[in-house]
């Protein structure tokens, strides 16, 4: 049971946050990971996320917002169920990342920071994801896919499409 009686998070995440703040010598240290975990569950850093995290850490919502806006992985509006991040930095660029990005824009019918009409995919050009030696690489949510070609990336998208369909059917 979480210490927050009116948590917007799932009981599991609320319990995780309760434990997280106790780990550190100063509880504010939990702020950055908390924002990321909250985003994973809610989909983005909403006003409600900011309010509850501020409350949990005994700091102001402005304090939370001030930190949240600094980190590029945190976002303030929803993205697709599968957020496709294409690294175009130097190592990936040299091995065809821009062709891959163009291909993905064409396949998904959206541009940088766009979301498909069905909400399944969003697309983003991002800075180095630390997969330089296995370039070109993309990250879909937290999954890495490397040494890609246009054909390979089509197969990758198909697996996520199937997953999204499966999830809809099960629901």
């Amino acid at each position: 049971m979480s210490t927050e009686t009116m948590s917007i998070f799932s009981p599991q995440l609320a319990a995780k946050f309760d434990a997280l703040v106790l780990k550190y010598p100063v509880k504010r240290s939990a702020l950055v990971p908390m924002l990321l975990y909250a985003q994973d569950e809610i989909g983005y850093v909403s006003d409600a996320v900011i309010a509850e995290i501020a409350d949990r850490l005994s700091i102001t919502p402005l304090d939370v917002r001030n930190v949240a806006t600094y980190y590029s992985m945190l976002r303030f509006k929803p993205v697709g169920k599968y957020n496709v991040q294409v690294c175009t930095n130097i190592s990936c660029m040299l091995r065809g990342a821009y062709d891959l990005f163009d291909h993905l824009q064409g396949t998904l019918g959206i541009g940088h920071k766009g979301v498909t009409a069905d909400g399944v995919f969003s697309l983003e050009e991002v800075e180095c994801i630390g997969a330089c030696c296995w370039a070109p690489a993309i990250q879909v949510n937290y999954d890495f896919h490397d040494e890609l070609t246009n054909d390979k990336v089509d197969a990758v998208l198909a697996t996520y499409r199937a997953k999204a369909k499966g999830a809809t059917t099960n629901a």
Binding site: R28, V32, M73, V126, G130, C132, C133, W134, A135, F144
Partner: protein
């Protein structure tokens, strides 16, 4: 899943457990793991630091500062708790070596962290990984939990009177946080901007306590150094550059990947023999030797170049993170420079004006240039602007943006001029960086 590569010239010290299932604690122990920390507990801090000094290990994050010396700067007595901080934020383009350590050998990081803690008298260690590496964070968290379950971490580690706790921390996407004082700010739950130095972290660091901060590769080397002895480790490398290095070779080579080679290994051999040469039989145009911030080298400059901090420094560049980016003769250097500087413009934390404004101006100038609207005056302006960013910021990000830019303009001036004369890129490709 990142592919593992190998080459007969490799000397596998840090990477010797890669691909051997060492994420499992029993397997790690079977492969000799956690023996060095027991030795360290028995021998004490002075012995550890002496072995580290003897090893000649220099920080693998990029600056190359001697690790043993760094540890010896931490005051023995302190009113505030001391901390060990492992920097796994790894965000420099061209660099992905720590990725493999966390993936294949997380316990080596934990063991190294405990030893660093014993050396300086810290009771807590933090392992900070970039947020994008979520799947690696989970591997490291599992390894930490297993180590606690065995009594290797906690109040009485390995049955001794010593306490040591490890906390795994996730970042959320910011290159700047790789800078040591910015990392501490981030860990304290703030925007990851650098602190003014001095005081240095060894005296006033995390939560105001004395802190040792080391790159993940540096920490991973520590147990191996104690196992083989500092002098034996030093003997592997070149003069004043002990041991091996995880070199990441990416770009236009046949076999990109992470290779563990002795410090001082010839760069030309690394490209043509270890990594299989230039892709598609093309010619080498340039090499970025140590991550995107290090100045570019020409083919004639790498003929007899040994890859260690001193030799690469003498050649006018830096060994940096050991991320070698190989560029073939079909690549537009202006485009490459634009993509490099776009990164720094995106990642500048904005605190220091020369960096915030300078990176943005450089990006704008290079964008215009690459589109064919540059002038001769622009070439000089780009160089002048970059030179005036150097040394004028609190952290090295400003330098990291300026140094490669100066290199590109100086060494490839003709290619810049071609963009003016042809009113466009001679290679016909066009990058428009969408990132905002």
């Amino acid at each position: 899943m990142p592919r593992l590569v190998s080459h007969p010239d490799e000397v596998k010290i840090i990477s010797r457990r890669f691909g051997m299932g060492a994420t499992d604690i029993d397997r790690f122990i079977e492969l000799g793991g956690y023996e060095s920390v027991k030795k360290a507990l028995a021998q004490g801090p002075e012995w550890i630091i002496n072995e580290m000094k003897a090893s000649g290990l220099r920080g693998r994050g990029g600056a190359g500062f001697p690790t043993g010396l760094k540890w010896s700067f931490v005051p023995k007595q302190s009113a505030k708790p001391k901390y060990v901080l492992v920097n796994g934020d790894e965000s420099e383009p061209g660099t992905c070596k720590d990725h493999l350590i966390f993936l294949h050998d997380p316990h080596a990081i934990i063991e190294g962290t405990i030893i660093a803690g014993l050396a300086i008298g810290a009771k807590t260690g933090f392992i900070y990984l970039r947020g994008e590496y979520r799947y690696l964070i989970q591997i490291v968290e599992k390894a930490v939990a297993d180590a606690y379950a065995r009594g290797f971490l906690g109040t009485n580690i390995f049955g001794s009177e010593t306490e040591f706790q490890v906390i795994v921390q996730s970042g959320a996407g910011a290159y700047e946080v790789g800078e040591e004082s910015a990392l501490m700010e981030s860990l304290e739950g703030k925007r990851g901007v650098p602190r003014i130095k001095p005081p240095f972290p060894a005296v006033v660091g995390l939560y105001g306590g004395p802190t040792v901060i080391n790159n993940a590769e540096t920490i991973a080397a520590v147990p191996h150094i104690l196992a083989m002895g500092g002098a034996a480790y030093a003997a592997v490398g070149s003069e004043r550059n002990g041991g091996t290095r995880l070199f990441g070779i990416s770009g236009h080579v046949e076999r990109p990947g992470i290779y563990e080679l002795p410090m001082g290994y010839n760069l030309k051999k690394m490209i043509y023999e270890v990594a299989g040469g230039i892709r598609g039989g093309r010619k080498l145009k340039a090499v970025v030797p140590g991550g995107s911030s290090t100045p570019v080298l020409l083919p004639e400059e790498i003929e007899n170049l040994g890859m260690d901090f001193d030799q690469v420094g003498k050649a006018g560049s830096m060994l940096g993170s050991g991320g070698v980016v190989v560029i073939d003769d079909q690549t537009c250097i202006v485009e490459f420079a634009l993509r490099t500087i776009s990164f720094y413009a995106h990642e500048s934390c904005g605190w220091c004006i020369p960096c915030r404004e300078g990176t943005d101006w450089l990006k704008k100038s290079l964008t215009r240039f690459h589109a064919g609207f540059g002038t001769i005056q622009d070439i000089d302006n780009i160089q002048y602007l970059a030179e005036n960013m150097m040394g004028r910021t609190f952290c090295p990000l400003g330098d990291a943006a300026a140094m490669p830019t100066i290199g590109f303009v100086k060494k490839f001036r003709k290619e810049f001029e071609d963009h003016i004369n042809g009113k466009s890129c001679p290679y016909a490709k066009h990058v428009e960086v969408a990132l905002v």
